[in-house]
Symmetry: C2
Subunit: 312 residues, 2 copies
C-alpha cells in the first residue's frame, strides 16, 4: 500500500506471467512527447522509500493482485472520457483501469522512465488491445492544457510526495470543471494485528519514520479529506477500505499479510539499520512477530482510504 | 464502543425522551425468575471501566444513536426464533434488536440489576408493544437448558470480561446446534485521527491500560476470530466496520467524535490521575488535541469488528 503500482487480478493472466513478460512492448501504446527539458533527471525518484528492486516489483504485484477488487470497486469511467492516471508507476493500477473502463481515453504519467517501461510491458502483456498515452514527467508540472481531463486517478502516490497539497493543486489545473479526482492511499497507523507485539509495532514505526525522512507520509490516508478540500476540490467523500485477514481467508494471509505487508516492512531492514533506528536482532524479532500474525489463530488488519472529489 | 448499551436510532423517539423515561415499566416485560442465590452481588459489575453514572448513560445513548445503522445492518432474526442478548446493559441494543426482529422471542440478560431496570424502561418507552424476557444473572452461569436459543447477540461485552473465552464457551452451551452467535466489539488500537497528536494518543492508551487493569481488553476486536474459533464455533466470519468522520459528516463529528469517543476518554480522567498514569495538564492537553480532530479540517476514524459464527 505504499506504492503506485498494482497488477491485474481481473485478467486471466497470472501475476507471474505478467512479471516475466517485461520485455514486451504493446503495439498500441503511444509515447507522449516528452516536454521536460531535464527529463532524464526524473528517471529515479529517490523519495520512493521502497526502492526499485525486482523484489519490490514482485511485492507490488502481490499487493495489487490481492487488493484490486477492494480498491477498484466503483471506479469505472464512461467511454470516450479523458482519464489521467497520475503516478502510474509500473502500471499495475493501469491494467485495472483499462479493465474497468475499456472505452476511456487513458493517459498514464510517471516520473520514472524505468517504471514507465515496466508499465508499458505490463499493459502489453495483460491488455494487448488497450491504447494508452504514456507520459514521462513530473505531476507537478504536467504539460497538458487546463481542463484537459474529465477524471484523474491517483493511487499510492501522495504518500511519497513532500508537498501533496501542491501536487493536488497542480493536478486540479488539468481537470475540467465538474470533473472528478479519485485518490487511494494507505495509512500505516491503521495496522492492527493479533498477537499484538511491541517489537512488531516498532518495525512498522521504523518504516513510517524512514518514509518521513524521505519526504513522504505513511500516515497520509487519514487526512485525504482536508488535503483535497484545501486544494480546492468540492464534494469530497472519503471511504475507509479495511483489509481484514484471519484464518478464514487464506488467500489474504498469503497475498496481503505475508507477501504485501510483511514483505514491505522487511524491505526497509537495511535502511532502518543504517539509520540507526534499531538493531538487527530487534528488527528481526519484530518481523518474526509480524509473521506470527499470519499463523494459526493470528489476525491482521489494515485500512486504506479512497476519496472521490469534484473540481468545482 | 466500550459498553454494552445503545439507544434506538430507528424509533421516532429522540434519545433524550428515552433517557428521561427511566421510571416507566413496560407492561409487556416479563421478569425472568432469578435463579442465582447471590443475585444481589451482581448489582454492580466493578469491572465496567466507564462506570454507571448518568453522564455515562448519556454517552452510551449518543454512541448508540450514531452507530445503530452501521452495527445492526444485516442482523435480523426470523419470527419465532429464540434470541438471547447476553449483556444487554441499559437495553439500547435491545431496542434495535426488537426493531429489526419484531417477531423474535427475545431474552435479555445482564449482570447489573440497575442496568436491567434502565433497559426495561427504555424498551417501555421506545417499543411499548414489545415482549422481552428479562434475566438478571451472570452470563457465565446462565440457568437455561442446553440449546435453549437459536441465536445469541453479544455487543460490547467481551471487552469487559476477564476471560472472554470462558464466557463464549458458556454461551455456546445454551445455543442449539446450527444456531448462530453475533458478536460486536471495538478496538481502541484502531483509533486514527488528524491532526495526529502524541498527547491525544496517550490519553487513549491510558483508557486501554485502565480497562486492562479492570480485567478487560479494549483491543479485543482484532481477536474475535480466534476467540470464537477456540470456543468451538465454526464458520467464523468477522467484518471490520469503520466509522470515518470528517467535515462532510457533521452528525458523526458531533455524535461520534465528540459525544461518544472524546467523552469516553474524558470519563476516565480521574481514574487515570488516581492511577498515576498521567498529570492533569498532560491529560487535558490530550483531550484538547482529541477535540481538535472534530474541528475544521480534522478527521477521526475508529474500527469495530462484527463476527457471526455457527455452533456446530
Amino acid at each position: 500500500m505504499t506504492t503506485k503500482t498494482t497488477e491485474a487480478a481481473e485478467t486471466a493472466l497470472p501475476a507471474e506471467a505478467a512479471r516475466t513478460a517485461g520485455a514486451t512492448e504493446t503495439a498500441h501504446a503511444v509515447e507522449h512527447t516528452r516536454t521536460r527539458a531535464h527529463g532524464d533527471d526524473l528517471t529515479h525518484d529517490h523519495a520512493y522509500v521502497h526502492g526499485y528492486s525486482p523484489a519490490e516489483a514482485r511485492r507490488l504485484g502481490d499487493q495489487a493482485d490481492t487488493l484490486a477488487e477492494l480498491l477498484h470497486a466503483g471506479t469505472a469511467y464512461p467511454a470516450g472520457s479523458r482519464v489521467l492516471e497520475a503516478g502510474c508507476g509500473v502500471g499495475a493500477q493501469t491494467v485495472h483501469l483499462l479493465a474497468s473502463s475499456p472505452g476511456a481515453e487513458l493517459t498514464a504519467a510517471d516520473i520514472s522512465a524505468d517504471s514507465l517501461g515496466e508499465a508499458r510491458a505490463r499493459v502489453a502483456a495483460q491488455a494487448p488491445d488497450a491504447r494508452v498515452i504514456w507520459h514521462h514527467g513530473d505531476l507537478h508540472e504536467l504539460p497538458f492544457a487546463d481542463g484537459s481531463f474529465d477524471h484523474l486517478f491517483v493511487c499510492f502516490v501522495l504518500e511519497h510526495l513532500a508537498d501533496p497539497s501542491a501536487a493536488l493543486t497542480a493536478l486540479r489545473r488539468v481537470l475540467r470543471p465538474g470533473g472528478t479526482i479519485t485518490v487511494i492511499e494507505g495509512d500505516h497507523g491503521s495496522t492492527l494485528f493479533h498477537p499484538d507485539s511491541a517489537a512488531a509495532r516498532a518495525t512498522v514505526d521504523h518504516l513510517v519514520r524512514l518514509q518521513a525522512d524521505a519526504g513522504g507520509d505513511a500516515l497520509l490516508g487519514r487526512r485525504l479529506h482536508p488535503l483535497l478540500a484545501d486544494a480546492g476540490f468540492r464534494d469530497v467523500a472519503v471511504r475507509p477500505l479495511t483489509v481484514s485477514v484471519d484464518g478464514s481467508r487464506p488467500a489474504l494471509v498469503e497475498g496481503f499479510t505475508r507477501r504485501t505487508f510483511v514483505a514491505m516492512v522487511e524491505s526497509v531492514r537495511a535502511d532502518a539499520l543504517a539509520a540507526g533506528l534499531t538493531t538487527a536482532a530487534a528488527f528481526d524479532h519484530g518481523i518474526a512477530d509480524l509473521r506470527r500474525t499470519a499463523e494459526e489463530g493470528g489476525t491482521f488488519h489494515y485500512t486504506f482510504f479512497k476519496a472521490v472529489a469534484v473540481n468545482p
